[in-house]
């Protein structure tokens, strides 16, 4: 298990020559499927950030990430930060903000989301957009 807060800032190296690409800035999440899809890498002050698909990572360690030579960045979904986003139920009620999230680096599946109002199981995530992370309400509610 790995935490979003621990991954942030880790150095990313390339597989062949151990060249330093940059540091992890954020993880892009597909809330519908509950998976981490991309890693966004800050390469330096004046350079555009790189986006690497999670599948394209060679290895994920506790202290660094190893990326295979990157393919083209086409088809990258729009990025919304999970950490810090507002939590909204599908009934339109706010439920705090996201503090952190835990995921499995091997499968990229999110295991739990920690919010200011407690922990959410990953199965309740519905979508993450520019306004909020939308979650399912507890059972027994229509929709």
């Amino acid at each position: 298990m790995m935490l979003f807060s621990r991954v942030r800032g880790l150095p990313v190296l390339t597989l062949g020559d151990a060249d330093r690409v940059g540091v992890v800035r954020a993880l892009t999440v597909d809330a519908g499927s509950g998976e981490v899809t991309h890693v966004r890498i800050r390469r330096g002050r004046m350079r555009k950030e790189a986006v690497v698909a999670w599948d394209a990572l060679g290895a994920v360690g506790p202290d660094l990430l190893i990326a295979r030579p990157a393919g083209d960045p086409s088809g990258v979904p729009p990025h919304h930060d999970l950490v810090g986003s507002r939590v909204l139920t599908e009934c339109g009620e706010e439920r705090g903000t996201v503090l952190d999230a835990a995921f499995d680096p091997a499968t990229a599946r999110i295991e739990a989301v920690l919010t200011t109002r407690g922990e959410l199981p990953a199965g309740r995530l519905l979508g993450l957009g520019d306004h909020a992370l939308v979650i399912r309400t507890g059972h027994g509610h229509p929709g």
């Binding site: 599908e90 339109g92 957009g129 992370l133 939308v134 229509p142």
Partner: protein, 194 residues
């Protein structure tokens, strides 16, 4: 029963898809007085200067009405409703600011706000009145915090709203206690009808 929401507080509420994107803000609420519920919302764009959107959100497309957002399934829920422009002027204007009369013919006040049930029902539950002295005694401030449950036999004509006379016996100025009052009103109405 879902929480009661004042319609005036719905203005500026974001319209959020289940994907988490805010697509618009609520501008006005359009009522369907015959059905006693919200008919649709008119919308403004997301930024301060974006102005009204030429699209409406019909109540049927609302996933859920909450305290912090109006939830819709996706952006396709917003639709261009040319009818609604005419309807907004005809219907919405009649509720906020309308004169309230009982079916005995007494003028009891004017509508300041409308309370609706949130969630998926959108049912019109009660009115907040600027009550006349005959209905409630006291200061102007107190008379502007008066709630009257919506009668079952609600009718609207022009700028006048007619409620059953016995509804005015359930007048209250305490919103938390009001939900219980509405329940009592409905229980009594049910017995009277049978």
């Amino acid at each position: 029963m879902n929480a009661l929401t004042a319609v005036r507080s719905l203005t500026t509420l974001p319209v959020v898809t289940l994907g988490g994107d805010a697509v618009a803000h609520v501008k006005d609420t359009v009522f369907d007085p015959e059905a006693g519920r919200i008919a649709s919302f008119t919308l403004t764009g997301r930024t301060l200067l974006s102005g009204p959107l030429p699209r409406d959100l019909p109540w049927a497309a609302v996933h859920c009405l909450g305290r912090h957002a109006v939830m819709v399934r996706d952006e396709g829920a917003l639709c261009a409703l040319p009818l609604s422009v005419a309807r907004r002027d005809a219907v919405r204007g009649r509720l906020l600011g309308a004169h309230v009369m009982t079916d005995d013919g007494d003028l009891v006040g004017t509508v300041l706000d409308v309370l609706v049930e949130g969630g998926t029902s959108g049912r019109l539950v009660a009115f907040r009145l600027a009550a006349h002295r005959e209905l409630v005694h006291g200061t102007r401030h107190r008379r502007h915090r008066v709630y009257v449950p919506r009668g079952e036999a609600l009718s609207v004509s022009g700028r006048t709203l007619v409620i059953p006379a016995h509804a005015t016996t359930y007048v209250t100025d305490d919103l938390p206690a009001f939900t219980a009052r509405v329940g009592a009103y409905h229980d009594r109405g049910g017995r009277a009808a049978s």
